[in-house]
Subunit: 555 residues, 2 copies
C-alpha cells in the first residue's frame, strides 16, 4: 500500500459566518452566479482531460477506486482488515493508516487535482482530502468529487492533523488523506430531502414556512409532514440520532432501576375481548368473527399480576389511544412505561420509589447522555432542566396547587380539574417557588380519576392519587388502587355512567380482588412525552420513530 | 412483646408417600370417614368452649389478632417495623423474632390449642405453629385455624429450628411460632381453583381429564381452559412464578447482550396503513374512518432503521398474527425479540453475533435461573438442554439437513420446505450426531423465504438465510436482506403472486434502499417459544401471561 506523503493543499476559504461583516446580498448573488459559470466551464475542461487520460489507459489508480459489487456474499473470507470506528479517529496518531466504512455527506471538487469529502458515521464527521499525485490519478479525484451524497463508501487513508481546525466537522483536529475509495452502496440523486435540512428545527408555525425560509440560511425549513413522509432520510440526521439515543437512554435507565429494585418484567395482552377502560377512545378491530379492542393501557392486567403475587411489576409496551386530537402532544400509539407494586402501610411508599426512579433517569440523562442532550439543545433551545436541590422533590397537595393558581389570578373551584394552560402556569409558579422543573401533585379530586382509584381517608372528595410533572406538563399519572372486590364493585356502580362489574371486560378483573390481594399503587409514564419535555421539542411526533396520529399511519 | 418459650408440639404424622407401603384404599377411605366424623364432633365442642370463653370476656390475646382495616391509608406514619423477607428466614437464628407479610396457603386445626399454617411468599414457603398458652388464647388459635386459604396476613413470630425437617415447605429447617396475626386482605372461600392444583401438570390429553384424575392423586388435573379462565389464581402457583421469572430472565439476558454489543433499542409502529408482509394472516382494524392493520413483525421498519444508519437495532415488542391455528405452538399475539445489523463482507458476521447472543441466553439460564428451571422440571419432566461442546454450534447447510433426513428414510426434494415432524426428526438426528439441542440450518431454498431475502451467490435457488432450532423446533428465522432498491423491486415483481413495490405498504420501504444502505442481516425470535422449548412445556400458552388464540381474548 502506498504510504508516501501527500501534499496537503489549503482548504478553500469559507463564506463569512452569520454576524460577521460580509458583502451585500446582491453582490453575493452576482458573485455566486459568475462562480457557477466559471465552475461549469472548468468542469467541462476537466472532464475532457480525464476522458483523454482514461482513453489513453494510463490510470495509475484503477485498482484503488470504483464501485464494489453488491455485498451479496461471495465465498466467505473473514475480512483481511477490520474497519476502524470513525469516532476513534480524533485520537489517532498523525500519519497512521485507517480503514473506514462511512457515508459521504458531501463531495466538493476544488480543481482537477483536488477534492474534499465530508464523511460521517453516527454522531461523528470528518473531512477527507483526495489529491492527485504520481500514484493517484486525476480520474480517481474526479470519481471522488462526483460521488452522490449519502453514498456509503469504504475508505483507506492516512490520518493527518490539519493546519487549521476543520470547523464543519465534529472531529476538527484530524482529516483523512484518501488512498483508496470504493462505493459500497450508491445513493440516487437528488435526494427528496437534504439531511442537512433535517438537522435544523421545525418551523415554529407550519404555516409560516415560506417567510421563515427566506429569513434564515436561505434554505427552506423542513415542515413536519415532509420530514415524516421521508422519515428514513429524516432519521439519518444527527439531531434524530441524538433523540433516538436519549429515548433509548431513558428505557435503559428505567430498566436498570427495575432490575436493581426487584421489579419483574411483564407482557400484558394488547388485543382484548372488551375495552379495558370504559369504552371511549378505544380502537376496535376484527378478531376472526368477533369485535375486539386494542389495549389503552396495561392497567387492569398489571393489577391482576399484583393479585397473582408478583409484588412489583413493570412493562414497556405499546399503548393505543383512538383520540381524534391533532395536537402537538398526542399520539394514537406510544410507548407506555408502566409499573405497579404492593406496599405495606401507605401509598407514599410507592410514591417514594417513583420519585427515586425518575431522579435516577434525570440524573442519568444529565451525566451519561450529556453529549446527545447538548446536541439537540443546539437546535431546539430550551432552559437546562432544573432538578430539586438535595433530591427533595416537592410533593404538593392538589389543594395547594389550586391555592397557588388562585393567587396568580386563576378562577378555580376546589375540586376542578386543571386545564393544560393552568398546568403550565402552575409549572412556572412551582419553578419560581421551589426552583425545580420536576414536581408532584398529590391527593387529586376523586371525581376526576378512574374508578379503580382509592378514595382519600382525609376527604371523601379526594383520592390517593398523584401526577408527576416536567416543565408543567404531566408525564405520569398514578394512584393507590382499590384492592378489595366488594369495595371496587361499589365504586364501579357509583360512577357516572355506572360501570358493570359483571360485564365481560371487568368480570375477571373484579374477581382478581376477591381472593386476598395486597394493597398496591403504581403509575404509567408516556415515554415520548418524557423525551419531548426533557429536550424541549416542539412536537411529540419528533420523539417517535414513525409517529401515528389521526391523519397518519404510513410509513 | 411476649417472647417466652412456646411449647413445640409434635407435627401430625404425614400419610405414607406414593410408593411406600400403606393400608389398602378401602381401609383408608373408611378411616378417613371416621376421622372426619370425630373431627366434626371435636370442632363443635371446641367452638362451644371458645364461645363460652369469649362470652366471659377473658381473651388475653384480643389485641394480637384480628382483621386489619383496609389498608386505605390513614395519616401517614412510616411503619414502625419493617417486614422481613420470607426467603431470608431459612438463615435466621433460632429464637429470633420475625415480621412477615405472607399468604396463608392452608390452615389446619390440630386441637383447640394447636393449629398449623402453611405460609408462602414468592417461591418460598414455611410452616407456622400457633399454640394456646397463658399468653395466647384459644380464640386466637381458632381464628388462625379458620383462615381462608389465599388470605394475606401480617405475622409476628419467633423463628425456631423444628425437630424434624418440614418436608411440605421449601424452608424445611425453620418454622415460625406465631405471636401476632392480622388479616390484611381476606380471601373468599371456596376458591374457584386450588393453587395446589395449578402446581401440577396439564393433562397430557385434555379429553382424558376424567381418567387421569382418578388415577393420580385423587384430585382432578386442571385443564387448560379452566386455568386460563381463572388465570390470576393460576398465575399464583410457584410453577407459574418460575415460568414468569425465566421469561423475564430471557429478556434480561437478551437486553444485557444488546447493551454490551452496541445495539440500539427501537420502537416500531404496530398500527400500519397497509399490511407489512403481503396481506395474509393480518388483523384488520378501524383507524378512524379507514382500515389499518396490526404489525405482523417489525421487519420492514427495523430495516428502515438500518438504512437510517443506526447500524445495530433491537426491539422487544408485541407481534400480531391472525393465524386461525389452534395448535399447541401458535399464539395470535406474542412477544417478538428482533434484531437487525449491518455487516461488512458476509452475513455470517451477523450469524456469529446471533450465535453468541443465544449462547449467552442459554448459559445465563443454566447458571442464573437454575432454581426456577429445576422447579418447572419437577412438574414437566424434560431432558436437560444440551449445548454444543466448546460453544461450537453446528451450522448445517440446508442441503445437509435434507441428506440426513433422506438417510433416515424421509422422501424429500432438494428445495422442499421441511414439515414440523421432519424438523423434529432432524432435531433428533442432529442431537445424535452432534450432541446438541441447539443448531442452525443455513442457506435455505429461496422459494420458501420472503421477498426481502438475499439470494445465494452459490446457487440461485438458495438464499443467504438461516433458522435457529431448539429441540428440533424453530425459534429464530433470519437472513441477509436485499439492500438495493432496484434489485428489491425485481425480487418483488418476480414473486408469485407478484408484489407491487409502488403500493402504499411498500413504497416507503423500497425508497429506503435507494439512498445508500449498508448490507445487513438479522433475525426474529419468538419469546414464548424459547420459554416453552427451554422448559419442555407442552403448550406455548403456558409461556404467555394471558394467551391469545383464535378462541380466546379474555381475560
Amino acid at each position: 500500500m502506498a504510504e508516501e506523503e501527500q501534499q496537503v493543499p489549503e482548504r478553500p476559504k469559507e463564506a463569512p459566518k452569520e454576524g460577521e461583516a460580509g458583502p451585500s446580498k446582491n453582490a453575493l448573488k452576482k458573485a455566486a452566479k459568475e462562480k457557477e459559470k466559471a465552475e461549469k466551464k472548468r468542469l467541462i475542461q476537466e472532464r475532457e482531460a480525464a476522458q483523454k487520460q482514461a482513453a489513453e489507459g494510463n490510470d495509475v489508480s484503477k485498482e484503488d477506486y470504483g464501485e464494489s459489487p453488491m455485498v451479496g456474499s461471495k465465498q466467505y473470507k473473514p475480512p483481511q482488515w477490520k474497519r476502524d470506528k470513525l469516532s476513534d479517529t480524533g485520537s489517532k496518531e498523525d500519519g497512521s493508516e485507517t480503514h473506514l466504512r462511512v457515508v459521504v455527506r458531501n463531495a466538493r471538487s476544488q480543481s482537477a487535482k483536488l477534492a474534499f469529502l465530508d464523511l460521517r458515521d453516527g454522531l461523528s464527521s470528518i473531512q477527507a482530502v483526495i489529491a492527485a499525485s504520481e500514484t493517484l490519478s486525476r480520474q480517481m479525484v474526479k470519481f471522488a468529487s462526483t460521488l452522490n451524497p449519502e453514498s456509503l463508501v469504504d475508505v483507506i487513508g492516512i490520518v493527518k492533523v490539519p493546519k487549521e481546525p476543520v470547523k464543519s466537522a465534529t472531529i476538527q483536529d484530524r482529516e483523512i488523506h484518501i488512498l483508496k475509495l470504493f462505493v459500497v452502496s450508491k445513493s440516487e440523486s437528488p435526494l427528496p430531502i437534504q439531511i442537512e435540512d433535517a438537522e435544523r428545527p421545525l418551523p415554529e408555525d407550519e404555516k409560516k414556512i415560506e417567510e421563515q425560509s427566506s429569513e434564515e440560511s436561505g434554505r427552506p425549513l423542513l415542515g413536519l409532514s415532509t420530514r415524516l413522509d421521508n422519515r428514513t432520510l429524516d432519521l439519518r440526521s444527527m439531531l434524530n440520532h441524538a433523540i433516538v439515543e436519549i429515548k433509548g437512554g431513558i428505557c435503559r435507565l428505567w430498566t436498570e432501576f427495575m432490575w436493581q429494585n426487584d421489579f419483574k418484567q411483564i407482557w400484558t395482552p394488547k388485543i382484548n375481548g372488551a375495552p379495558s377502560e370504559g369504552g371511549s377512545n378505544v380502537f376496535e378491530m376484527k378478531y376472526f368473527n368477533n369485535p375486539a379492542y386494542l389495549a389503552q393501557s396495561p392497567q387492569l392486567y398489571k393489577q391482576m399480576m399484583i393479585s397473582a403475587r408478583y409484588k412489583r411489576v413493570w412493562e414497556l409496551g405499546t399503548v393505543f389511544r383512538a383520540e381524534n386530537s391533532n395536537t402537538a402532544r398526542h399520539l394514537t400509539e406510544f410507548m407506555g412505561l408502566d409499573l405497579e407494586m404492593e406496599f405495606q402501610e401507605h401509598y407514599h411508599e410507592v410514591l417514594d420509589v417513583l420519585e427515586e426512579l425518575v431522579l435516577h433517569i434525570f440524573n442519568g440523562l444529565k451525566t451519561r447522555y450529556k453529549q446527545e442532550t447538548d446536541l439537540v439543545r443546539t437546535v431546539y433551545k430550551v432552559e437546562e432542566f432544573k432538578l430539586p436541590e438535595a433530591g427533595k422533590v416537592p410533593r404538593l397537595p392538589f389543594s395547594e396547587g389550586i391555592t397557588m393558581l388562585r393567587e396568580a389570578g386563576e378562577t378555580l373551584n376546589d375540586y376542578d380539574d386543571l386545564s393544560t394552560p393552568q398546568e403550565k402556569l402552575l409549572g412556572k409558579l412551582v419553578l419560581q417557588k421551589y426552583n425545580t422543573d420536576f414536581y408532584i401533585l398529590d391527593q387529586f379530586p376523586l371525581a376526576i380519576r378512574p374508578f379503580y382509584t382509592m378514595p382519600s381517608p382525609h376527604d371523601p372528595s379526594l383520592s390517593n392519587s398523584y401526577d408527576m410533572f416536567m416543565r408543567g406538563q404531566e408525564i405520569c399519572s398514578g394512584a393507590q388502587r382499590v384492592h378489595d372486590a366488594e369495595f371496587l364493585k361499589k365504586r364501579m356502580r357509583g360512577m357516572d355512567p355506572p360501570l358493570d362489574p359483571d360485564s365481560l371486560g371487568f368480570k375477571h378483573y373484579v374477581e382478581a380482588f376477591k381472593y386476598g390481594c395486597p394493597p398496591h399503587a403504581g403509575g404509567g409514564f408516556g415515554l415520548e412525552r418524557i423525551v419531548m419535555l426533557w429536550l424541549g421539542l416542539p412536537n411529540v411526533r419528533l420523539a417517535s420513530l414513525f409517529p401515528r396520529d389521526p391523519g397518519r399511519n404510513i410509513p
